[in-house]
Amino acid sequence: MSALLEVDKVEAGYGAVQVLWGCDMVVNKGETVLLLGVNGAGKTTLLRTLVGLQPCRGGAIRLAGEDVTGLGPDARIRRGMAYMSELGVFPTLSIAENLRLGAYGASNAEARRRAEAMYQMFPALAQKRRSAAGSLSGGQRKMLGLAKALMSGAEMIFMDEPSSGLAPVFVTQVIETLKGVIGGGTSLLIAEQNIAFLELADRGYLMDHGKMAVSGTRAELESSDAVRRAYFGVGAEG
């Protein structure tokens, strides 16, 4: 397998507070990687730094071999990244408008074609394409957020806490939906505190205080003492 995303000793922070301390990470083509960690471990900061929303203060980020560290988010997204934030959607815009913006760089015709594919994949969205995204339920909003990220046609999708704010039954629904995306050639990097997402992953990283504490395959993480202490000891958070 060849590396799509290479994260090399990345440092980042806010003002005087440093959050990321030399993070290393690799995501291969078509791979699903889980980024585990408790609240405040630095998962969101890492994803925001990778997509260019947060300045990278040290180290380098490469996408398909190209150094993108100095590029803004729009330039990185044009090169094949997409980011699904915790919010994920524009609540005041309609579902169709959200999807159009997800494919911001694409032509109108291409965006229409991709939107039809999304409506096939998420029939619940198709029925409400003219409704405001803010009128959707929490689970449907995550579906729209995912569809909006997929609209970009990106090879590398970052997802920030797809389970946040959802009841357990909807978390299961999100996981089932992601199973449908995995294997389509897209690489996923999913930041979660919910260990249930480990079943989707080929590999994973455990973040702690802005550093990569543990990394390994799914099986290795499942048997890791650090992961056990962080998760199974205190019970999975949702």
Binding site: D74, P91, T92, L93, E97, L101, Y104, S152
Partner: protein, 294 residues
């Protein structure tokens, strides 16, 4: 009595539609950039003096001021945006700094207009926009008022179509909704914001073309009042929705005309009283709900 009331209402509707156009550019710029363009009224006046210059120096119809306003907005707006915004974003307190910056800009524009045209009030010939009157309910108003209202409606509808039918318009509304999410979606936020800034200035300048008609004259120094009135209208109509601004203009226009007709000495208070009442009773604006669904 009834004739007076009809006069106030017909006049108020025309006046209000025009003021919807005066205010809509401020609404757009505030929505996208989250700054109050304190020089808004000065850009309106620039449009007025542009029309005056075309009319008196070149002998052209003042309506040529509309394309001139659009051209001027492009020439001034893009460099101004890129000169000002990166500095604002780097500062610790962008909102306060933007207040000071645009206040200073307003003074500069006022001074330049005074240097170029002198401090006098300038008016334009009524004949240029028709010269006759059109009556509704037996109340005659000059053609220029009807032309102004017609242009205002076309411009506001044009803006509404831009915002609701085009990709750049979606992106503009996305930035209004959540700037960070707009960046995260891959929208070229600076380019889209710069375009919105230019459109906002163009609309202000276009409104200015009609100021000599609707206000009787245009003079340096009246920009302040126009900015405050625009702000009141924008709050009445709620942010982010050009149709809401049109509605806010109507409330202000009819309110002003009723006061001018029946309690003339109190009429200058109308925008301020409306502003305070709306902020206290309905801070999301009278049109607030429509914005969320827009």
């Amino acid at each position: 009595m009834q004739a007076l009331l009809e006069y106030a209402i017909v006049g108020g509707v025309l006046y209000g539609i025009f003021f919807g156009l005066v205010a809509v550019g401020l609404n757009l710029i505030f929505g996208v950039m989250r700054i109050i363009n304190l020089a808004h009224g000065e850009f309106v006046i620039l449009g007025g003096f542009g029309a005056y210059w075309l009319s008196t120096s070149l002998g052209l119809n003042p309506l040529w001021g509309l394309p001139l306003a659009a051209l001027g907005a492009v020439v001034i707006g893009f460099p101004l945006y890129y000169a000002v915004v990166p500095g604002l974003q780097r500062s610790r307190d962008p909102e306060m700094l933007s207040f000071i910056l645009f206040f200073g800009l307003a003074q500069i524009i006022d001074a330049i207009i005074s240097l170029g045209f002198g401090p006098d009030q300038r008016s334009l010939p009524d004949e240029a926009l028709g010269g006759g009157t059109i009556s509704v309910l037996g109340q005659a108003f000059p053609d220029s008022w009807w032309v102004a209202a017609g242009v205002a409606i076309l411009a506001i509808m044009g803006l509404w179509l831009y915002l609701t039918r085009t990709r750049l318009g979606f992106a503009t509304r996305a930035i209004m909704a959540n700037r960070d999410e707009a960046f995260a979606t891959g929208i070229a936020v600076d380019r889209v914001s710069a375009i919105a800034f230019v459109i906002g200035l163009a609309l202000a300048g276009a409104a200015g073309v009609f100021v000599p008609y609707l206000q009787g004259s245009v003079a340096p120094g009246i920009g302040n009042n126009l900015t405050t009135t625009s702000f009141a209208i924008l709050i009445i109509g709620s942010l982010g929705n050009p149709v809401g601004t049109l509605f806010g203009g109507l409330v202000f226009g009819v309110g002003s005309m009723l006061m001018q007709t029946f309690y003339a000495s109190w009429s200058d208070l109308v925008p301020y009283v409306l502003l305070v009442v709306i902020v206290l009773l309905r801070p999301q604006g009278l049109f607030g709900k429509a914005v969320r669904n827009a």
